[in-house]
């Protein structure tokens, strides 16, 4: 069932409109640009939220925008997956913009940041809400290029070189994606994403087209061989932007991969050649999961560690999609939602540490729980959720992914051994999450009373140190920064106990591909 509504148009094009208003607002009165950006996000948020009644009733929202006369129109179409991804995207964007009001107050080039943040928002919402490949590609490229400016915001040599790599990878990925899109249009004459399998079954070029899509989207998602831009680009951006990059922008790639497997390729077409197509993707996902966690263990800088963790977590999403089983798909899509909340919150907390104390290294964050208790608490909740403790939302994803992994032998997509390996990898990754999140968390709360035996600071006046009467100065940031962090931290708990909102929609979504 489909209905025409203008809500997606507001959600997609309102940020584009706001791009032109932000400089004017900022010029009229200094400092209002940030607030205006946040307000724009709120408007978009409500536009997305008002779609919920229709989406939850199983109705898809469509809206043709612009007849290009190219054989493919620029049209919008919102289904459960797009709605969920768009919803979490705009939630995180709104919170990050609110956070940025305070965080970016003393930064240079705020207007530039706001403009490109809104432009990226346009690209992101467009990616999630479009109905065909042509419009998807346009929005996807806008997202790639606009977010480059967010990465290089600091303009330091490191930022420039990280941005360089990001831009190169983004463009190269985009071109490969373009190849696949063109090939799809040429072969089938359509690029509608509402279809279940676009009609590429039996096509000899299918593996090339499939891998083109996967590489194109995979660059953005940061899966294994093309993840290389991610660990340098995500930490170098300002923290609100890092939260967006790691929280939602890589999800645009994951979204594309899910669309590729289920809408464009279709299970029917992909199952016969699964070894060279989806099976390969599964292996890449497993490598991503392990590599991300393994390298994160070696990191000493908190934001870099979080970035590597993102590689590992996006591996979960791709794994869920590549399992080709209903529960696996459910787990993967739910993890898009959950990981955005967790990682967004963690990056905002890390940003708060840096903003308030200037400390970036994990080693230096010992005892931060005394100085910034609320921030450290939010970080702790996020980390526990990441490890997958019940009842945090990370556990919900883990539960579905693991059951999906064991389900593959039932659905016939892979053998039972593959399922066991995936299960083992998921559990191992959980443990590795503990290895690298653990030191931050227990260092924050219990680390400060350790006796200091460093050479550089040989005598920290011990008498002063053990003086119990001394009051610890509280360094928590002000409410503008705290509220987004607290909301996200609460979100990890609430969505762990009541994961109904994402789960019901995701089930409806996975039923379209796995009818009972």
């Amino acid at each position: 069932m489909e209905t025409i509504s203008y809500l997606p148009v507001i959600a997609v094009f309102f940020p584009l409109l706001a791009v032109f208003i932000v400089p004017v607002v900022e010029k009229m009165r200094k400092g209002t640009g940030n607030i205006f950006t946040a307000l724009t996000c709120v408007v978009v948020f409500f536009a997305v939220l008002f779609m919920y009644p229709q989406i939850s009733a199983g109705v898809k929202i469509i809206c043709p925008v612009w007849q290009t006369g190219l054989g493919a129109d620029f049209s919008l179409r919102v289904d459960e997956l797009g709605f969920l991804a768009g919803l979490i995207g705009i939630i995180l964007w709104t919170l990050s913009s609110i956070y940025a009001i305070e965080y970016m107050r003393k930064e240079h080039a705020q207007t530039r940041y706001n403009i490109f943040s809104l432009l990226s928002l346009f690209g992101l919402m467009g990616t999630f809400f479009t109905g065909n490949l042509l419009s998807l590609y346009i929005c996807f490229e806008v997202l790639s290029i606009a977010s480059y400016v967010l990465v290089i915001h600091e303009e330091s040599p490191e930022a420039m070189s990280a941005g360089l790599l990001y831009l190169f990878m983004g463009i190269a990925g985009g071109l490969i994606l373009l190849f696949s899109i063109i090939a799809t249009y040429v072969i089938t004459g359509t690029g509608e994403l509402s279809l279940i399998g676009i009609g590429l079954k039996g096509e000899p070029l299918l593996p090339f087209i499939f891998w083109g899509f996967i590489l194109g989207f995979g660059v953005k998602a940061g899966i294994f061989p093309v993840h290389i831009w991610l660990p340098s680009a995500h930490p170098i951006a300002p923290s609100p932007a890092s939260a967006l990059l790691s929280g939602v922008m890589i999800k645009a790639g994951a979204y594309g991969i899910i669309r590729t497997i289920y809408s464009i390729g279709g299970l029917e077409a992909l199952l016969p050649g699964r070894v060279i197509m989806v099976g390969g993707l599964l292996i890449l996902a497993l490598i991503s999961i392990f590599l991300g966690s393994a390298v994160a263990i070696a990191q000493m800088e908190i934001k870099r560690m979080l970035a590597y963790s993102s590689i590992s977590q996006i591996g979960y999403v791709v794994l869920g999609a590549a399992l080709m089983s209903p529960l696996g798909l459910t787990g993967g899509v739910v993890h898009i939602f959950n990981h955005a909340i967790i990682k967004g919150g963690l990056f905002l907390c890390a940003g708060a540490f840096i903003h308030q104390t200037g400390l970036r290294m994990i080693e230096d964050l010992k005892g931060i729980g005394k100085r910034m208790p609320i921030t450290a608490l939010c970080f702790t909740l996020g980390a526990l959720s990441m490890i997958g403790f019940p009842p945090f939302n990370g556990f919900v994803s883990k539960w579905y992914l693991a059951l999906g992994a064991l389900e593959v032998s039932k659905t016939g997509s892979y053998g039972p051994l593959v399922g066991m390996i995936c299960l083992g990898m998921l559990l191992l990754s959980s443990f590795m999450n503990l290895i690298y999140y653990g030191p931050v968390v227990y260092g924050a709360w219990f680390g400060e009373e350790e006796e200091k035996t460093s050479v550089a600071t040989p005598e920290v006046s011990t008498a002063e140190y053990h003086n119990p009467g001394e009051k610890v100065k509280k360094d928590d940031p002000n409410l503008v920064m705290l509220i987004p962090m607290i909301l996200l931290a609460l979100g990890t708990v609430i969505l762990g106990i009541f994961p109904h909102l994402p789960l019901e929609l995701v089930r409806a979504f996975s039923h379209t591909f796995f009818p009972r």
Binding site: P225, A294, V396, A402, F446
Partner: protein
């Protein structure tokens, strides 16, 4: 010193005592055989499990859920109260007492049963639609309630004890908050109706007690807490894997007998893997062999009540899980199925040996440890071994295993009581003397007589002295292992009993002896002997510490004097929920009547419960003989141990599990840090070479240099244990960021030397080289590697130039190809593009950037349009055209910018 005669005497007495033990147990075996032949008739009775009380029938059904909520709510309250410590204490006292009373009020509906509408209901069931994919279900049966009750008692006394013990600690609020939340998780595990609910609460018991163990935040406390956390997580993941397997294959997670289903869907070795995963999962908390490390590591440095709470209550949850798995999940519902019973026997046999090995090795470790809390931690492990062995016996004997399960349940209760009492008394002594090493204490009974009495009674309890509680449960467990030995002939082809189980039984006796020796040592060293002078002024413990101890010793003595009371009241009804044959030998020995009726225990532990005869009873005599032989061996162990200094033996590190665990863990971490970081870098280089090389072939030279750099990294990685860290350090030094010095000094084993090297390197001061050579052997290589590394990056060189002008010359004389080509040399146009993009504050630049985006999109669209209309285009040509256009576009941008950026 030791004459030959003396030694001969010792050896002789040992031999005599050993033979006495053998004789004693031999007699008991004969006795058991006689009874076995008399009463053993195979009658398969299908027991009717009474229907469960549900929400609709009575509000009692919801009570377990509310009981779990109370600690959470009061934890919230004490957070709200904030600084008012008195009010917090009142809340804590009232809530723990209230929970204990509520647990007692569950006794009627769960154990005795209540009659609603002329129908009897026993046990409660409540399902809470909580998670959309699973309901939280709470089911209480007498076994769960028994352990919950004892946990409630331990928590009550532990909290009471903490009020005064926390005068010497900080962060009262934090401790109590986590104590209460752990309490809730613990109750949740015991009341869980299915494995999903159980897992949720079990994970809570993994990470919440972290704060209790790490409370003092010293290095050793953190280490202990970390070990507990890591073992908890690994075992939790094993449990989760088991749950996933069970759920996927059987589609059910309810804890009920389903051996048939497991056997059909998971044939062969898979069901054993499943059982193994579950046992390992729960064993982490129970502290079975190979997973026991965290107890001795975490207890000594934790606050005083923590060990009592953990040993008294928390580790029981692990044993409870094992017994739910082994004695319920793997039990066939249909009693007639032989194959399923055989599977269960196999699992049971393994579990028996896990228990026996755990108890024996732990008691050996306890004998040689001098830290009293560490010693008690080892005893906790050892006693858990007894419990696990009982569970194993119950599984091994199948329908005949009532004795094993009764013993295990009974011992769980008793162990909670005397171990909590021991930890509290040791804690009271520690708080007054600040000394945990028992060899340095002595003669304290004069200072704290009540504490001394408490410890004496607890020591009697743990040693199994008749008249104290440990005696009863150890007798039952001994019966169980003897029965297992007897029964083993049914499993052998030659119809001979398994000699291994005979050995297990002897180990059991020796372990009892070791327990006696070790605990007597603790008591005598602490409270008797001559008092060291510095302890003359030690004051008695306050009443808030003594009352908990008094409560515990009262119960210990009561159970000791009336051993059949607990068996009648709650263990008997508990056994009715399991698939034991009511007419089996064990059941007869325990109860001698049908369990459906009012349960009357008839086993003669200390006296004949009905005839009230004491000495003339042969069964009682056998029990006393067994325990007296154990005590005699224990006494001799004690004397010999002191004479020959056996209590001061140290174990080689190669015999300690910890050594291997650390090796594996560090190996894994190093593998991740070293190999995978290098691998990731390698991938980085390759992909970036490919991607960027498309744009400029000159860049391919990077590949060579990348390889070179990688080699150096590998060299350095082999030389230093934590290469990742040192690399970071070097990079930091390249930036001349001296903050890194701190990091290096913290992470490497010889910080001074390494730090010197690094500093020398960063300042290009080669005077340091000599220092480094002197400081560590092999430093030359290391130094060379690092220097080489630093030369490969021009960035470092620039930094060095600032410090030492001469460095520039050094750079110049390097071979041309070894110089790193920086981005500027490779792609000048791109650097300018970046600069353009980064200076976008000016409106002119912004417009240019917007134009560039529009340009790219137009090109892409144009190509799309082209292909859509003229469908014969070759896609490769399209891509090439885009690349060319884009390159031209970028060059155009660069050129326009060049004029302005130069100056």
């Amino acid at each position: 010193m030791f004459t030959k005669k003396k030694i001969l005497l010792y050896v002789l007495s040992l031999t005599i005592l050993f033979s006495a033990t053998l004789l004693g147990s031999e007699k008991e075996i004969q006795h058991a055989e006689e009874t076995l032949t008399q009463t053993h008739e195979v009658i398969t009775l299908k027991k009717e499990v009474p229907s469960l009380l549900t929400e609709e029938i009575s509000p009692y059904a919801k009570l377990p859920f509310w009981i779990i909520l109370i600690p959470l709510v009061s934890a919230g309250f004490i957070l709200l109260v904030g600084k008012n410590e008195k009010l917090q204490k009142v809340i804590l006292f009232l809530s723990t007492l209230f929970i204990l009373l509520l647990l007692l009020s569950l006794f009627k509906p769960v154990v005795q049963g209540i009659i609603v509408n002329e129908h009897q209901y026993k046990g409660t069931f409540y399902s809470l639609p909580f998670f959309p994919f699973f309901n939280l279900t709470f089911k209480v049966d007498p076994a769960g309630l028994l352990i919950a009750l004892i946990s409630g008692l331990i928590w009550f006394v532990g909290t009471l004890f903490s009020f005064s013990s926390f005068k010497q600690e900080k962060h009262f609020l934090r401790y109590q908050f986590f104590s209460l939340t752990t309490y809730a998780a613990n109750l949740g595990v015991l009341f869980a109706g299915d494995l999903f609910t159980l897992y949720i609460f079990f994970e809570g018991m993994v990470f919440l007690p972290y704060a209790l163990f790490a409370h003092r935040a010293t290095k050793r406390a953190l280490r202990g807490a970390n070990i507990a956390l890591y073992i908890g997580i690994i075992s939790g993941l094993c449990l989760l894997a088991g749950i996933f397997l069970l759920y996927t294959f059987t589609g059910n997670l309810e804890i009920k007998p389903m051996a048939e289903k497991i056997n059909t869907v998971m044939p062969g070795i898979f069901k054993y893997i499943l059982a193994g995963l579950m046992i390992i999962g729960f064993g982490g908390k129970a502290g079975i062999f190979l997973e026991h490390l965290w107890l001795p590591a975490a207890y000594p440095e934790s606050p005083e009540p923590t060990a009592a709470l953990s040993s008294g209550a928390m580790i029981k949850a692990g044993a409870y899980g094992i017994f739910r798995t082994v004695n319920m999940l793997f039990v066939p519902e249909n009693v007639a199925l032989i194959n399923e019973w055989l599977t269960l026997s196999n699992i049971g046999y393994i579990v028996i040996w896990i228990g026996v090995i755990t108890m024996f090795l732990a008691v050996l470790s306890a004998l040689i440890s001098s830290n009293s809390k560490r010693m008690l931690a080892y005893h906790s492990i050892s006693q858990m071994g007894f419990i696990v062995m009982g569970i194993g016996c119950a599984a091994y004997l199948g329908t005949e295993g009532a004795m094993g399960l009764a013993g295990a349940l009974y011992h769980m209760v008793n162990h909670s009581l005397f171990k909590a009492c021991l930890f509290l008394t040791v804690g009271a002594v520690y708080l007054k003397t600040d000394e945990l090493d028992m060899y340095k204490l002595g003669g304290l009974w004069r200072n704290m007589p009540l504490v001394a009495i408490g410890m004496f009674i607890a020591v009697c309890g743990i040693s199994g002295i008749p008249g104290f509680n440990g005696f009863a449960s150890k007798c039952l467990l001994h019966h169980a292992i003897v029965e297992a030995y007897q029964h083993s002939l049914h499993f052998s082809k030659t119809y001979t009993p398994d000699f291994g189980l005979r050995i297990a039984e002897i180990i059991f006796i020796i372990t009892c002896a070791g327990t006696f020796a070790s605990n007597t040592k603790l008591f005598i060293l602490t409270f008797l002997r001559k008092r060291p002078e510095k302890y003359n002024q030690v004051k008695s413990a306050p009443w808030s510490m003594q009352i908990p101890i008094l409560i515990l010793i009262a119960i210990i003595v009561f159970i000791g004097l009336f051993p059949n009371w607990l068996l009648e009241k709650i263990i008997g009804p508990a056994l009715a929920y399991f698939n034991f044959n009511p007419s089996s030998h064990s059941y007869h020995l325990l109860y001698n009547i049908h369990p459906e009726e009012a349960i009357r225990s008839t086993i003669e532990i200390l006296y004949h419960p009905i005839e009230k005869t004491f000495i003339t009873n042969p069964q009682v005599m056998h029990n006393l003989l067994a325990v007296s032989s154990a005590i005699l061996i224990g006494g001799i162990m004690y004397i010999l141990g002191f004479r020959f200094g056996w209590f001061h033996l140290t174990v080689s590190q190669y015999l300690q599990v910890e050594y291997y665990y650390l090796k594996i863990f560090n190996g894994f971490k190093n593998f991740c840090q070293r190999n995978f970081v290098i691998f990731a870098k390698f991938v980085d280089k390759i992909i970036s070479t490919i991607v960027i090389g498309i744009w400029n072939p000159k860049i391919i030279t990077w590949g060579y240099l990348a390889k070179k750099e990688l080699e150096y990294e590998t060299t350095a990685g082999e030389l230093i244990p934590t290469p990742g860290v040192v690399f970071k350090a070097c990079q930091g030094l390249g930036k001349l960021d001296l903050d890194y010095e701190t990091i290096v000094s913290k992470t490497t084993p010889t910080p001074g030397a390494v730090f010197k090297i690094c500093r020398g390197l960063s300042k290009l001061d080669f005077g340091y080289e000599a220092t480094a050579h002197n400081a560590i052997s092999g430093a030359g290589k290391e130094f060379a590697a690092w220097r080489a590394l630093s030369k490969l990056d021009k960035k470092y060189e620039h930094a060095a130039e600032k410090v030492l002008p001469a460095a520039k010359e050094e750079w110049e004389i390097l071979p041309e190809k070894e110089r790193r080509i920086t981005g500027e040399e490779i792609a000048p146009w791109f650097v300018h593009l970046c600069r353009n993009l980064s200076n976008l504050q000016h409106t002119g630049d912004l417009s240019r950037y917007v134009i560039s985006i529009v340009f790219i999109l137009t090109i892409s669209l144009a190509v799309l349009v082209g292909t859509l209309y003229i469908r014969s285009f070759e896609t490769i040509i399209i891509i090439l055209s885009i690349i060319i256009l884009f390159t031209i576009f970028s060059l155009f941008l660069t050129k326009s910018r060049k004029g302005t950026t130069k100056n």
